[in-house]
C-alpha cells in the first residue's frame, strides 16, 4: 500500500479506535447502576434507607438548614478529600454555623460506594490516589489520575441519559436521605434541604431532585458551584438553582457540546423553560477557573479587591443559603395558616434576587 494512503488512513483508524474505546467506557459506566438495579451486582439491595434507624426518634438538631455537599468528579472518597477541598468545607462550616453540612455522600455511585471502596478496579484507583499526591507524575500515574476523573465524569453522562439517569438518581437520592437522617434530619422538617453541587454533581443533583422531593415531601434547592447543568427535566422540579459561575470556567459550558437541549433555540427544553420561569439565578463570581490554581476554592488567587477566591465563593454561598432559609421560613409560616400539612412555598422563590446578586457582587 502506498505510504501516502497509510499516512492518510492512520489518523482515521486511530480516531475510530479511540472513539469505539471511549464509547465502550461509556457502556461500562452505564452498567454499574443498571446491574445494581437488576440485582446482579454484589451490592444488590435496592432499598438503601435505614427504616429501623434510631435517628428518627432523636431530637432534630437546632439548625436552620441542611446542606448536602456533593463534590466534583475529582473526588475519590468523601471521607478522604484533598486538603484544598477540606479547608473549603471547614471555612463553609465556620461561616454557616446554623446549617448542618453533610459531606459524606459520594454522588458518583448509586450505592455510595466510593472509588477507594470495594471495587473491581480498587487497585487502579488506589494507585491513582497515590499518583495524585506525587509532585512529578510518570506517564502511568498521569493516565491513572485522568482515568479516575473520567470514571466519575462518565457517571455524570449516565445521570443525564434518560435511560439510566433515573436509576442512578434513585440510588443517590436514597443515599442523600440516609445522610440527612444520620445527621438528625427529621422527616417532615420545615428546615430547607440544599444540595450544594460542585462541577459534575450539578447534573447529578438535578437528576435527584424529583426523587428527593417525593421521598422528603419537601422542596429542594440547589446551589451549584460551576456545576454541569444539562437539559434534565428534574430542573423543573427544583425550587431554585443558584449557579456560581466563574468567567474562566469553560468546563461548566460543556453541556453545549453534548446536549442540544441547552441551546436557546430549543425553547421547550427543560432548562430553557426553567430559565424562563426564573428558576435559575447565575452569579458571576469573578475570573475563576473550573479546577486547579485559580478555581472556586483557590486560596492563593485573589480578586482585584484582595479577596481570596475561596472567600468570595463562600460569601456568595452564605448569601444564597440565607436567602433560601428566609424564603423557606416565609413559605412555612404562610402554609401553616393555609393548610396544616402542605408546604406551599412562595411561587418564584428566586424572584427579587437582583438585590441579592448586587449585594453578593459587592461582597
Amino acid at each position: 500500500m502506498p505510504f501516502g494512503i497509510v499516512l492518510l488512513l492512520a489518523p482515521l483508524i486511530l480516531v475510530t479506535v479511540a472513539g469505539v474505546l471511549f464509547l465502550m467506557a461509556c457502556m461500562a459506566a452505564a452498567l454499574e447502576p443498571l446491574l445494581w438495579w437488576a440485582g446482579w451486582s454484589r451490592r444488590s439491595a435496592v432499598n438503601l434507607l435505614p427504616f429501623d434507624s434510631p435517628t428518627a426518634a432523636l431530637l432534630e438538631p437546632d439548625v436552620d438548614s441542611y446542606i448536602v455537599y456533593l463534590s466534583g468528579a475529582g473526588i475519590m472518597d468523601p471521607n478522604q478529600m484533598e486538603e484544598k477541598e477540606r479547608q473549603f468545607i471547614e471555612l463553609l462550616r465556620a461561616r454557616l454555623p446554623r446549617s448542618m453540612l453533610i459531606t459524606d455522600v459520594f454522588p458518583y455511585s448509586a450505592t455510595n460506594n466510593p472509588q477507594l471502596g470495594e471495587r473491581r478496579l480498587a487497585r487502579l484507583w488506589r494507585y491513582a490516589w497515590h499518583a495524585r499526591k506525587a509532585r512529578r507524575r510518570s506517564f502511568f500515574q498521569w493516565l491513572s489520575v485522568h482515568a479516575q476523573q473520567l470514571r466519575n465524569s462518565l457517571q455524570v453522562a449516565v445521570s443525564s441519559d434518560r435511560r439510566y439517569g433515573p436509576i442512578l438518581s434513585y440510588g443517590v437520592s436514597q443515599v442523600v436521605v440516609a445522610g440527612l437522617l444520620r445527621h438528625g434530619y427529621r422527616l417532615g422538617s420545615d428546615k430547607p434541604v440544599i444540595l450544594t453541587a460542585l462541577s459534575g454533581s450539578g447534573q447529578i443533583s438535578v437528576g435527584c431532585v424529583p426523587i428527593l422531593k417525593r421521598l422528603l415531601r419537601r422542596p429542594i434547592w440547589i446551589a451549584s458551584i460551576g456545576g454541569i447543568l444539562t437539559d434534565d427535566p428534574g430542573i423543573l422540579e427544583t425550587e431554585h438553582v443558584y449557579h456560581l459561575s466563574g468567567s474562566l470556567d469553560n468546563t461548566q459550558h460543556m453541556p453545549r457540546f453534548f446536549f442540544p437541549g441547552v441551546w436557546p433555540i430549543f425553547r421547550q427544553s427543560a432548562i430553557n423553560r426553567a430559565r424562563r420561569q426564573g428558576r435559575i439565578t447565575v452569579f458571576d463570581v469573578g475570573p475563576m477557573k473550573h479546577m486547579r490554581q485559580g478555581d472556586y476554592m483557590s486560596r492563593s488567587a485573589t480578586l482585584p479587591d484582595g479577596q481570596r477566591y475561596v472567600d468570595k465563593t463562600i460569601a456568595v454561598l452564605t448569601e444564597v443559603v440565607a436567602r433560601i432559609e428566609a424564603d423557606a421560613q416565609v413559605a412555612m409560616n404562610r402554609s401553616e395558616a393555609a393548610t396544616p400539612d402542605g408546604w406551599v412555598s412562595e411561587p418564584r422563590v428566586g424572584l427579587g434576587l437582583r438585590s441579592l446578586r448586587e449585594k453578593a457582587e459587592g461582597v
Partner: protein, 216 residues
C-alpha cells in the same frame, strides 16, 4: 447459498449486538441472567424478522416501480448485509453518546442497502433512494395497520421468554429506550418508599415547582 447463510449469520449477530445495546429493556425488568440470554436470542430473531419484512417490501417496490422481476433472495441478502454496521449495535448502550452512535450505525446500514440496490440492479442513486425510502414507508404503514396485534404478540413473547413485565410491548420497549418508563416507575417507587418512610399517607409536597411544571 453461502452468501445467504453468511449474511443471515451477520444479521443474527447484529440482532444480538443491538439487543445488548438495548439491554436496559431487560435489566430494568430485573430479569435473571438466563432470561437475559434468552431475551437476547429472542430480540435477535425479532430483529431478523423485521429485516425480512423490510426486504420483502423493498423487493415489492423494485418490482412495482421499475418492473424488475426476480426472486426476493437477492434483496434479502442485500438487506442482511446492510445490518453489518449494527454488529457494533452494542455501542448504543453507551451513556449519552450511545443513541448518536446508534443513529450513525443505522445510517451506515441504510447506505449499504442503497448502494446495494444501486449496483445490484443498475439503478441510479435517486432510483435506489426512492425504492429504499418507499419500502421503509410501507413498513411503517404496516406497523400502524397491524400495530395492536403485533404489540400483543410481542408483549406475550417477551413475558413468556424473559419473565419481564415492564414495558414489553413494542411501544413499551420504545418507551424504555427513551427513558419514559424508567422515570415514571422510579417516581412511583419513590412515592411508595416515602409512604414507607413516613409511615402514613400524607399528601405529597406542593411547591411552586409543581404548579409551574403543570402549567408548562
Amino acid at each position: 447459498m453461502v452468501d445467504g447463510w453468511l449474511t443471515l449469520t451477520i444479521a443474527l449477530l447484529a440482532g444480538i449486538s443491538q439487543a445488548i445495546g438495548d439491554s436496559v429493556i431487560l435489566l430494568f425488568n430485573r430479569v435473571r441472567p438466563a432470561h437475559f440470554a434468552l431475551g437476547l436470542v429472542l430480540s435477535s430473531l425479532w430483529f431478523v424478522l423485521g429485516l425480512l419484512i423490510y426486504a420483502l417490501s423493498l423487493w415489492l417496490m423494485i418490482a412495482l416501480l421499475f418492473g424488475v422481476e426476480q426472486q426476493p433472495g437477492r434483496v434479502i441478502v442485500i438487506v442482511f448485509l446492510g445490518s453489518t454496521p449494527l454488529l457494533f449495535g452494542f455501542l448504543n448502550m453507551a451513556a449519552t453518546l450511545g443513541p448518536y452512535a446508534g443513529w450513525a450505525l443505522r445510517f451506515l446500514g441504510w447506505l449499504i442497502v442503497l448502494v446495494g440496490v444501486h449496483l445490484g440492479w443498475g439503478f441510479t442513486i435517486w432510483q435506489a433512494f426512492i425504492c429504499t425510502a418507499l419500502a421503509r414507508l410501507l413498513v411503517e404503514l404496516l406497523s400502524v395497520a397491524f400495530g395492536q396485534p403485533l404489540d400483543r404478540i410481542s408483549a406475550w413473547l417477551w413475558r413468556t421468554a424473559t419473565g419481564a413485565s415492564i414495558g414489553m410491548s413494542v411501544r413499551g420497549q420504545r418507551s424504555l429506550r427513551t427513558g419514559e418508563i424508567q422515570r415514571s416507575t422510579i417516581l412511583s417507587f419513590s412515592t411508595a418508599l416515602s409512604a414507607q418512610l413516613f409511615g402514613d399517607e400524607a399528601p405529597a409536597v406542593s411547591s411552586s415547582a409543581d404548579r409551574q411544571t403543570e402549567s408548562g
